[in-house]
């Protein structure tokens, strides 16, 4: 550690407990950081593309996750290194913003770092590299817009959307029935989409999973599924034209918030209290009945007596329904959440065409379907699958597909996949590089090389000769001036991605390039790492 000494040879203490901290500076710091970033990217590299492999992750508690989703892998990996954490953040922000392409963004950042390392060795200042990358990323994003195509679709023509979702799903374990899944995702998104405002509220789509059955049994329910059953075993299991009272108050005697005591000191008081209590229960049930409710959904529990009264008055009820589900039910059925019995009115009731209970398998598993709701703007994707891991992975895949469909509705520009967009950008950036005087030129070329690494990884994962394939596709793009040539991962026989129907969203791709560049710039700018030494 570099230290300054005064004239008596005593060191100046600058940092608190300086001797206990490790510190790397200058080029060493940058190289260490780059190495860490690359290590993370290397882990994800093999997951890229339709032939990408999965990772098995064992959590601190011993649970096993098998996944192909970049964001999930990094999140579960529990990394320690600070730079690695930055990469995890990177993947997460892509997940939040776009929902798909979480693996690609990390791989791109990794290869940008790799190129930066080479440039650093040549003695180029990191800031100049960062600036060069910035310029290059701008060129690439513009070029993407240039090659992007508009995509026409409507509620009646969902085929383009389905195709795009299928591209996303083809890299996941569900690709056995990607067509069905893609259709489910697109229909779900269209059901809740606000086409005029071009916005989709994904909160309205609930993804629910239950172990058992097979993947093909996955279905889209236009309504809500609640993992609950009727509070009394003898209540009817099927209600048509239900009028639903959605309550957030328990069927129990009142519990004032302020501390209080009811003192009983005479027999009369005891008796009146008793009668009041009974009347109270009676009133509650009667109020629900009076407004015409045929189903009560309650966030809290019921007392046994209330339960029986409900049963007795032929008023089916569901108890202990979670807050989020309650909100969804309220949205779907057009009802209002009622916090007090006094406020129940007929117009606050939700309406649903059919409420039914369905049981699964040999165990006592029942779920409640609420269908044909008044406001069909809430849907549930109900996933079945062979085991828990499969379901979790399918949930993630469906989430990705939903996000892609949403992005398309927001912005219907697409670029072609299979690495074709990256190759096209790489060519454009390479061509632009020569126009820049100064050191940045090298950085811009480095950026172009880094873009090549994505199709390269795709080819590698698909078992093709990476360099050969890439150069062939690249020359084809330049020769035919056709930016739609990509890597033929599935061995279809053509490199033209238009014919293979491999699409990705424009904003997804742009976001990938921007985010990766930003993180790399940030990493490059660090020249001093001070960390507390280990004991």
């Amino acid at each position: 550690m570099a230290l300054a000494f005064d004239e008596f040879g005593r060191p100046f203490i600058i940092l608190k407990e300086q001797e206990q901290k490790t510190r790397i500076r200058g080029l060493d710091a940058q190289k260490a950081n780059i190495a860490a970033g690359k290590a993370v990217a290397r882990i994800l590299r093999t997951s890229l593309g339709p032939k990408g492999m999965d990772k098995m992750l064992q959590s601190p508690d011993g649970d096993v996750t098998i996944t192909n989703d970049g964001a999930t892998i990094l999140e579960q990996m529990d990394v320690d290194n600070q730079i690695a954490k930055l990469m995890v953040e990177l993947s997460r922000s892509q997940d939040y913003e776009i929902g798909d392409g979480t693996t690609g963004v990390v791989v791109l950042a990794g290869s940008l770092l790799e190129q930066a390392e080479k440039l650093l060795e040549r003695g180029i200042h990191p800031i100049r590299i960062a600036e060069g990358y910035e310029l290059a990323s701008r060129i690439a994003v513009e070029h993407l817009e240039h090659i992007a195509q508009k995509f026409e679709f409507g509620p009646s023509n969902i085929e383009p959307l389905v195709q795009t979702c299928m591209t996303t799903l083809s890299s996941k374990i569900v690709n056995r029935c990607k067509r069905d899944m893609a259709e489910i995702a697109v229909k779900a998104v269209l059901a809740v989409a606000d086409l005029e405002r071009k916005d989709v509220n994904l909160d309205l789509i609930k993804v629910e999973g239950k172990v058992g059955g097979k993947l093909e049994d996955t279905e889209l329910v236009y309504g809500i599924i609640v993992d609950k059953d009727m509070s009394h075993p003898q209540m009817p299991k099927r209600i048509e034209d239900a009028k639903i009272a959605i309550l957030t108050c328990p069927f129990e005697p009142p519990k004032p918030k302020t501390k209080h005591k009811v003192d009983i000191d005479t027999v009369e008081k005891f008796q009146t209290l008793r009668q009041q209590e009974q009347k109270y229960f009676d009133d509650m049930v009667q109020k629900c009945k009076d407004v015409g409710a045929t189903l009560v959904i309650c966030q809290w529990g019921f007392d046994d007596e209330a339960n029986h009264l409900l049963m007795h008055r032929n008023l089916p009820a569901v108890r202990w329904v979670g807050g989020v589900e309650l909100e969804l039910i309220a949205i779907a059925t057009g009802g209002r959440i009622v916090p007090r019995f006094q406020e129940l009115t007929p117009d606050k009731l939700g309406k649903a065409g059919l409420v039914r209970e369905k049981s699964f398998g040999t165990t006592k598993d029942r779920m409640l379907y609420i269908e044909h709701c008044a406001n069909s703007k809430a849907v549930t994707v109900f996933i079945r699958g062979g085991n828990k891991m499969m379901i979790e992975e399918t949930k993630r895949s469906i989430h990705d597909a939903l996000c892609v469909a949403r992005n398309l509705i927001r912005n219907n520009s697409i670029v072609y996949g299979g690495g074709s967009a990256e190759i096209a950008c790489s060519i454009a950036v390479e061509a632009a590089a020569d126009r820049y005087p100064g050191v940045e030129q090298y950085a811009i070329r480095g950026f172009a090389d880094a873009l090549d690494s994505i199709p390269m990884a795709l080819a590698e994962n698909s078992g093709l000769q990476p360099i050969e394939t890439l150069s062939a596709v690249k020359s084809e793009q330049i020769k035919e001036n056709n930016p739609f040539c990509g890597i033929d991962c599935n061995d279809v026989g053509t490199n033209d991605m238009r014919k293979q129907y491999v699409f990705e969203t424009l904003i997804g791709k742009q976001q990938q390039i921007l985010l990766a560049t930003q993180v790399v710039k940030m990493i490059l700018k660090i020249d001093d790492v001070i960390s507390p030494s280990e004991y």
Partner: protein, 527 residues
């Protein structure tokens, strides 16, 4: 420069070949572990729990064995998981699914070693699984229309399932029991309605199905031991001191006499409640909660049989059997539906007194009383019977039936082999491997029975070359036999679930090329 460490201290990371090796070996070890329990001559395992008392379980049930293992290998956990799901979903075939997945991985390992990409193997396996399923679909028999035949199908399935279990000696007896019980359910899969009571003593043969319902409770003292034409009120209500439920209520008095008054009022309240209950015109009262001495005495005075603390399942079943309604308030007797049964009496099984309800209105629920030499035998019998009941109840819903004894595997293998010959490219190798894995199941069944498996399976293959052949392994005589004639059947649903889950699990494990194990969570030091 050394590679930066990015994971936490105790975490480990295995890549590529090593990762694949680790998961293959883990999965195969699990498959080999349960392999010997497969088939009618499969052996049992003793499991000793690590908990206090070191309870011993003797079992043949794959899911039970795997559930009790503590496994660290993540791939092995996947297999344990599919076995569990199989148990929940169809109830039987828990061993087969693990063995098949293990065999698929064993074959896959060979292919990977000969430089075939896992993704190619996966797509081959998928095609093969589809072909196999179609082959089964073509051969299924559906006898739903013909009640007589359907029943005999059910009998056959039950016997086949039971033949690999401890009950195999009395399989006919138990198959009869299981079929009777399931037929009473009339298509519902709610096995809760079938109650299994285990009482040590006697022999397995003494087990019986009771048409009525048996409740493992005693009749209160001084109450009638036998009631004919019982009117039953099933209730869930507090019969101790009926608390005031209004929050924060408490008794505060200033003199002893007041206490006595309130106590009297309380008693009065209880007395009124009991009066109301009696007012329903019943002669039997069953409560989920405790009945204290005082109300019990009142009931005894009124000549009413009061049974306390029947647990929740018991109450639900009783309500099912007697057709009554579970009541919690008693103000309007005219609208409460009462349960009815012909006779309630106390019976003795072994040394224990039980309450027996017979001649019930609705015959959905029933009770199977298992007798046996020891608790272990009973537990295993319970598990076996549960398997049989699960399979039967699923078959009632999906009545497609296949033959057993390795017949479906042979059919599938034949179809898959044909597909392999038609498919161009490397995939065909994977498809061929799939058919080999299917053949492993009859091989293991034969091996476990101590037969010459190579010879038998080869014979079977030859037999199956003819169309419409019913040949399978007859473990009893140790030769190839006609499964239709021997009456060995299996449910299509079980076979399909085995096939699909095993393929899915194998696919999942094959796709993995890296295992990252996080640092185990440190336990807090509890001093």
């Amino acid at each position: 420069m050394a590679v930066e460490k990015i994971l936490k201290d105790d975490a480990s990371e295995e890549k590529g070949e090593r990762a694949r090796m680790a998961s293959f070996i883990g999965a195969m070890a699990i498959a080999d572990l349960v392999k010997t329990t497969l088939g009618p001559k499969g052996m049992d395992k003793i499991l000793q729990s690590t908990g206090r008392g070191q309870l011993v379980t003797v079992t043949n049930d794959g899911a039970t064995i795997l559930k009790s293992l503590h496994i660290d290998n993540p791939a092995a956990k996947v297999l344990v998981d599919i076995s569990k799901v199989q148990d929940d979903e169809v109830g039987d075939g828990t061993t087969s699914v693990v063995v098949l997945a293990g065999e698929l991985l064993r074959e896959a390992e060979k292919l990977v070693n000969s430089k075939i990409h896992p993704m190619t193997i996966i797509s081959g396996y998928r095609m093969a699984a589809d072909a196999a399923r179609n082959a089964l679909l073509q051969k299924v028999v559906d006898n739903k229309e013909d009640a007589e035949k359907f029943r005999s199908d059910l009998m056959k399935i039950a016997m086949t399932t039971l033949s690999s279990k401890i009950l195999s000696q009395d399989k006919e007896h138990f198959a009869q029991l299981a079929v009777d019980a399931v037929m009473r359910l009339k298509g519902s899969t709610n096995l809760e309605a079938i109650q299994i009571i285990k009482k040590p003593g006697g022999s397995l043969k003494d087990s019986f199905l009771d048409e009525g319902f048996i409740l493992d409770k005693k009749i209160g003292i001084g109450q009638p031991k036998r009631i004919e034409n019982a009117k039953i009120l099933v209730a869930n209500t507090a019969m101790d001191t009926d608390k005031v439920k209004i929050y924060g209520a408490r008794v505060r008095v200033d003199s002893m006499s007041k206490v006595a008054e309130i106590e009297a009022a309380e008693k009065q309240k209880m007395r009124e409640k009991v009066q109301k209950i009696i007012g329903h015109g019943i002669n039997c009262f069953i409560n989920r909660q405790l009945i204290y001495n005082f109300p019990e005495e009142l009931f005894a005075d009124a000549g009413i049989l009061a049974i306390e603390h029947a647990d929740f399942d018991g109450i639900e079943r009783l309500a099912l059997v007697t057709g009554g309604e579970i009541a919690s308030t008693f103000d309007n007797p005219e609208s409460v539906k009462l349960g009815h049964c012909k006779l309630i009496e106390e019976i003795m099984i072994g040394e224990d007194k039980l309450i027996h309800f017979s001649g019930c209105e609705m015959g959905q629920a029933c009770t199977i009383v298992l007798r046996g030499a020891s608790q272990h035998v009973l537990d295993e019998a319970d598990r076996s019977l549960h398997d049989a009941l699960c399979v039967l109840s699923q078959t009632v819903n999906d009545s497609r039936v296949l033959l057993g004894g390795g017949w479906p595997e042979m059919i599938m293998a034949k179809e898959v082999d044909e597909l392999a010959r038609k498919t161009p490219g490397k995939k065909s190798l994977a498809i061929e491997a799939f058919s080999k894995s299917l053949l492993a199941i009859p091989t293991i069944i034969a091996d476990n029975a101590g037969l010459d498996s190579a010879e038998l399976v080869a014979q079977l293959r030859a037999e199956h070359h003819r169309e419409g052949c019913n040949a399978g392994i007859d473990v009893i005589t140790g030769s190839v036999g006609d499964m239709a004639a021997l009456g060995i059947s299996e449910s299509f649903k079980v076979k399909q679930a085995v096939l699909l889950s095993a393929t899915e699990a194998a696919e999942m494990i094959l796709r993995v090329d890296e295992i990252i194990t996080c640092a185990p969570r440190r336990r807090e030091d509890r001093m």
